[in-house]
């Protein structure tokens, strides 16, 4: 009804159609009655002459009566209920910032938005506390020692595609990062004995609000040649007020950044062969979305929000721009890609940086920012939102949303530092994380969930071809009301965990991309939020589960997937919260905090427990270490404690090994022990 009030024209048409149909109905009835009477009368007169073409006449009249109704039904159903949404999307050429304004206006009108569609960014205001500014102060100490080439790298999704992390090792040093400090500690010195763990270098960056040089490290990469720090630089609009009489006129307005912010991603590349000398500095405008590194090529994805609410917004100012050692390059509007249906609220830019030549390649897309980045060796896939507008939305007004929110998958081809927009596909639902995607033999597989709770949940697995057209889709995975908790693709198989009450662990056969099917299923209490293949036959799962079939505990499982049609639990460990208060492991949401080494036969993960007493919280933080093999499963190795009965969580986040030494890192310490006996600390150094 509201719809009709909103659309008087449509209401009028409906009224006319209804009137016409009723009139036609009456006419048909009248014609039927009168001709029947005629026929009867003539039979009474003993004249038998059947009326010719009576049926076709009535059929014609009926169809004439129903035609407008059918037409209206067709139009309305096409306009309002498109069940099948095209997979491909349309690209639109841009010439200038005016085109962007036009796109924005159209989009805005379509959305009829009064709400915050564009997801205004809110910053973590704790990021930088106004302390003394220290300009990348470097403490140098003497060092000697050798490196080992047997060490643990970052636990990445795709082999060969490095992911940025906050603790790294290259076999010689351990690189740690905390707030505005990056520290390099000499870790491996076999010649000197294992008792050396020296802080070798500290980079301390300014984190003062109005300092133009402020820098907040986000993560690091290290390889044989380079040590790279990537971070944010926020340029707040720190105006100086002219104070009232007698008041100092130097009031700083740090919250000005809400309105006049600009953020830059800074990449600092240090030359390892030259004692960590700063070699190159890259600066990109916008906010950080994601990064990967393949060989000596660094890929960075940024997003720069265009504040259209500001009537005097200058789009040029937000157009993608990068700086290599001070040399500025700005994107051209002609090179910007706009994908029909995406909210034109920001520039998403894909950068490819050749670290050897400092050559930068960029591809800018006007659209909504993405939230999950998956990078294979050949392509980057950024998942974001796209709106599928119902046809005719420009002509009719609907009280319901005029669009269906979908997942847009932007595909950018990467090749040796070069980036090129390839295509955009759409799927229904939202993807959970980077592990929801996987590229295999040119096909992209992605799992999504539609809905958050209740009956309308639909978990899907899509197989898309190189152009991101749908090849196949498996729908309604899991039981009703279950959502996807983790996905892992391994070659021709996908492993999927859905959860609501129990944990069905699904094995999906993707050998034929056009015909995926659920091959095996295992139902157990609890659920895994992270899956990592240990071998072809075993899968590690980390998640939640307790001793009474609930989820109030940390659960680490090894699934035996040798028989794909019948996965089983090979071994599992449960830490029931009931036994120690409460606990958590960051591995349940950050795969990079997990250490898995089959060559060393161990897994290690941070695990903190806490309980509350009269004296406040008591934290016990450390790293859990288990020996694993495929005969006995898990065997407890040790719990490396970083803090006991502490009132504050020291946040233990990483474990690494170099050769036979085991390093654990928290906000406060790096501790070293041996892999054989992880609990016996050989040496410990205090950080920060």
């Amino acid at each position: 009804m509201l719809f009709l009030i909103n659309n008087p024209a449509i209401a009028f048409i409906l009224f006319i159609v209804l009137g016409f149909t009723i009139l036609m109905g009456i006419k048909i009835f009248e014609e039927l009655t009168i001709n029947k009477a005629l026929s009867l009368k003539q039979r009474q007169m003993r004249i038998s002459s059947p009326i010719k073409g009576f049926k076709s006449r009535i059929a014609m009249l009926t169809s004439a009566a129903l035609a407008p109704v059918v037409a209206v039904v067709v139009v309305v159903s096409v306009a309002l209920a498109p069940q099948t949404v095209p997979g491909s999307v349309q690209l639109i050429d841009l010439k200038s910032s005016d085109d962007i304004f036009e796109i924005y206006t159209t989009f805005q009108e379509r959305m009829e938005t009064n709400f915050d569609t564009f997801g205004l960014r809110f910053f973590d205001s704790n990021l930088g506390s106004p302390e003394m500014a220290l300009d990348a102060e470097e403490d140098l100490i003497d060092y000697n020692g050798t490196a080992s080439d047997d060490f643990s790298g970052t636990n990445v999704q795709v082999e060969g595609v490095d992911e940025m992390d906050n603790v790294l090792t290259d076999g010689k040093y351990i690189y740690t990062m905390f707030q505005n400090k990056v520290q390099i500690s000499l870790a491996y010195t076999m010649e000197e004995g294992p008792d050396v763990l020296d802080l070798y270098r500290t980079f301390e960056f300014s984190n003062t609000y109005c300092d133009s040089e402020q820098f907040y490290p986000q993560g690091m990469y290290v390889d044989d040649d380079y040590f790279i720090i990537i971070g944010n630089q926020y340029n707040y609009d720190c105006k100086e007020y002219e104070g009232d009489e007698g008041v100092e006129d130097i009031t700083i307005e740090p919250w000005g950044y809400w309105y006049q912010n600009s953020s830059h991603i800074k990449v600092l590349v240090y030359d390892k062969t030259n004692d960590f000398e700063l070699e190159d500095e890259y600066l990109m405008n916008g906010y950080f979305t994601g990064t990967r590194k393949i060989d000596n090529n660094l890929y960075i994805v940024t997003n720069n929000y265009i504040p259209f609410y500001d009537e005097e917004v200058d789009i040029d100012y937000y157009l993608s721009e990068y700086e290599v050692n001070g040399q500025v390059t700005t994107a051209e509007y002609e090179d910007v890609v706009y994908i029909e249906g995406s909210a034109p609220n920001s520039f998403t830019t894909f950068y490819g940086i050749d670290l050897d030549t400092t050559q930068v390649d960029m591809e800018t897309v006007l659209g909504d920012s993405g939230y999950n980045l998956y990078v294979s060796n050949e392509n980057m896939y950024l998942v974001g939102s796209v709106y599928y507008f119902f046809p005719m939305v420009d002509f009719i007004t609907l009280e319901e949303p005029v669009y269906e929110s979908q997942t847009a998958i932007m595909k950018i081809a990467i090749d040796d530092g070069e980036v090129e927009y390839s295509s955009t596909g759409r799927v229904s639902g939202n993807s959970l994380n980077q592990f929801s995607m996987d590229e295999h033999d040119g096909y992209l597989r992605i799992t999504t969930t539609t809905g958050w709770w209740g009956e309308n949940i639909n978990n899907r697995l899509y197989v898309l071809d190189e152009d991101l057209n749908h090849v196949a889709v498996l729908e309604n995975l899991g039981k009703p009301a279950e959502t996807i908790k983790s996905t892992r693709f391994v070659g021709d198989y996908a492993y999927l965990v859905t959860f609501e009450q129990t944990d069905p662990f699904y094995v999906i056969n993707l050998t034929d991309p056009e015909d995926p099917f659920v091959e095996g299923e295992l139902e157990i209490p609890g659920f895994s939020t992270y899956l990592q293949p240990l071998s072809e036959d075993y899968m590690l799962g980390v998640g939640f589960g307790d001793n009474s079939g609930g989820t109030q505990g940390l659960k680490i499982s090894i699934y035996d997937i040798s028989d794909k049609s019948n996965p089983t639990v090979f071994d599992e460990i449960i830490f029931d919260y009931e036994e120690f208060g409460w606990g958590h492991s960051t591995v349940t949401y950050n795969h990079k905090d997990l250490l898995v080494s089959l060559s060393k036969g161990i897994i290690a993960l941070p695990f903190s427990t806490y309980n509350y007493s009269d004296s406040g919280y008591n934290y016990n933080s450390g790293i859990l270490v288990y020996n694993i093999d495929f005969v006995d499963g898990f065997a407890f190795n040790g719990y490396v404690t970083h803090d006991e009965d502490s009132s504050e969580d020291v946040y233990v986040y990483k474990s690494k090994f170099i050769s036979d030494y085991f390093y654990t890192v928290s906000n406060q310490y790096i501790k070293v022990s041996t892999l054989v006996d992880t609990e016996t600390i050989l040496f410990s150094t205090e950080l920060n």
């Binding site: 006419k27 009248e30 014609e31 009655t33 009168i34 001709n35 009477a37 005629l38 009867l40 009368k41 003539q42 039979r43 009474q44 007169m45 003993r46 004249i47 038998s48 002459s49 009326i51 010719k52 073409g53 009576f54 006449r57």
Partner: protein, 173 residues
């Protein structure tokens, strides 16, 4: 006009073969069983082998007395059985009787013809026109609440609003 009284199983077949329409108010009773005759009606008792003859008899009963209307055309005067006329129409104060292939000039007033053919299922559709119900092929109700009559000779006639009621009555609606 008729009532048929035969055994239930044969009722439908006999009714069809007699081309019979039964009515609630009837003058004639047809039966194949002497026992079923009704005293106050005209009873026709037949046996099934006579059905063809009974049919002819019924035709005669229904048509009643043959009524002839005299008219003339360019070939001279003719006397035509009333049921062969499609309609009678007044044109320039002359009355014409329309037949399948010709029309005859009738020297009688239209109302006189109407009176004459009172029991012959002719019905006035307008001030100037009297139609043979048996010659109507199809009736299309028009949107202006008139009726469009398609005759068996493919001619069209209109039932004017003022005559609609009587027309419907004639069709027993």
């Amino acid at each position: 006009m008729f009532k048929l009284k035969v055994s239930k199983s044969e009722h439908k077949i006999i009714k069809e073969r007699l081309n019979l329409v039964e009515t609630i108010n009837y003058n004639y009773l047809l039966t194949d069983d002497k026992e079923l005759i009704e005293d106050d009606k005209v009873n026709i008792v037949f046996n099934s082998s006579e059905i063809t003859r009974v049919t002819k008899l019924l035709d005669l009963i229904v048509r009643g007395e043959e009524l002839y209307v005299i008219g003339s055309n360019e070939f001279g005067q003719k006397s035509v059985e009333s049921r062969n006329f499609f309609y009678f129409i007044v044109e320039d104060e002359d009355v014409y009787g329309v037949l399948m292939n010709t029309r005859l000039l009738i020297k009688t007033k239209l109302y006189e013809i109407e009176e004459l053919l009172e029991h012959k299922d002719f019905i006035r559709v307008s001030k100037y026109c009297l139609v043979n119900i048996g010659k109507i092929d199809y009736i299309k109700p028009a949107l202006n609440s008139k009726l469009d009559l398609l005759l068996k000779n493919s001619e069209h006639l209109e039932v004017n609003r003022g005559y609609l009621k009587d027309f419907k009555k004639a069709l027993e609606i």
